[in-house]
Assembly symmetry: C2
Homo-oligomer: 218 residues x 2
């Protein structure tokens, strides 16, 4: 059970780490972190380095692929080598998954045409440009492709995937192991639930961050 | 607003990354990842390398300290240099926090004596050995020390901390930004909610993992 998690400069760490700390507990799991080249990738705010132990060239198959999102996603979805690798791995997977704007990378690779999919709420409509049907749901399963909503939704997605692969009890046990009994202090985790002025503020902030984002120097 | 996140071999990634992806969005936040020495630290299952950009010697103060847990915690809590650094930084902090078994590291550093505290449910009683009063709550605040329960509880802890520091609206905005509208597929995230046979199985598995855990070769 090989799980390949794609790392790139400008990704959001939690998009990858939520699914990682769930899926690594699948019976027989082998997790590999893969970048365009092997080496350290820095998260969007740059303070955190995550190590891609393998390069695209080293990984030619996976049972599960996880594609995270983040501010670097707009750059990555224009990189032919990245899109080619994702398409190649997708041909070998049992499950191809994304978290947050990672689904826009899958979409740019041509994998979501004609499918329902989700992504971070603030950019949901962008899925249309690639022939997908945006859906405001936390986890969307279409055949072997599973897309999750923003950042933290990867935890829910991964637990559902564990249940599909190894059964409900294994998923329940992993949920208990990571003590995932969420108790957020507010009920503002979706644009349907948050006050309109907060939704507007977060949307503006994200748009500014996306516009201002530059690739960190290597 | 300097946030120091302690990294070590054998840590659980999500313990650190949940708080990281919340706290980094605090206005004026500067996040530093700190290890005993600078360099790559590998998570408990070893597939993931996280980069500590700074060594203990380089970081002498922080506004917020985050101490994650994981299988490596038992080793770390016997390292005098680690405990001395944690005590030194704690003297400078506004908030000292832990996630999961990270509270046992705080306890070993002598910071929890006479205080209520929490940790991962499976090892909750171990806090008593260090003079703390174990509490089965998701987030426990005692003066400037905040301990969170297992792994995923760090997200809830960090959102509460943001609310304390920057106000409810900033916390609500960050929650919306990471789309933290949790929808776990099961309701088994705590030992009070999970079926007894799953609690027993997870407890046994964790005990075996702790007993079998060896420090990864450098």
């Amino acid at each position: 059970m090989r799980i390949a998690i794609f790392l790139y400069d400008g990704m959001t760490a939690l998009d990858a780490i939520g699914p990682y700390d769930v899926l690594r507990q699948l019976p027989g799991a082998e997790v590999v972190f893969v970048g365009d080249t092997a080496g350290i990738k820095r998260t969007e705010a740059q303070p955190l380095g995550l190590v891609a132990d393998r390069a695209f060239a080293d990984v030619t198959r996976a049972d599960i692929l996880v594609v995270p999102g983040g501010l670097g996603q707009e750059r990555v979805m224009r990189e032919p080598a990245t899109l080619a690798w994702i398409r190649r791995i997708h041909e070998t997977t049992t499950w191809t998954t994304s978290v947050c704007t990672g689904s826009l990378i899958l979409a740019a690779a041509g994998l979501l045409r004609g499918l329902r999919a989700t992504t971070h709420w603030a950019v949901l409509d962008e899925l249309r440009e690639f022939g997908a049907t945006p859906v405001s749901e936390r986890v969307v399963e279409q055949g072997k492709i599973i897309t999750a909503a923003g950042v933290s939704a990867g935890i829910d997605m991964a637990l559902r995937l564990v249940a599909r692969i190894a059964g409900d009890d294994v998923a329940r046990g992993i949920q208990l192991g990571i003590e995932y009994d969420p108790a957020p202090p507010f009920d503002t985790g979706s644009p349907q639930k948050a006050p309109a002025y907060i939704v507007d503020l977060v949307r503006q902030t994200l748009e500014q961050m996306r516009a201002a984002y530059v690739v960190p120097a290597a």
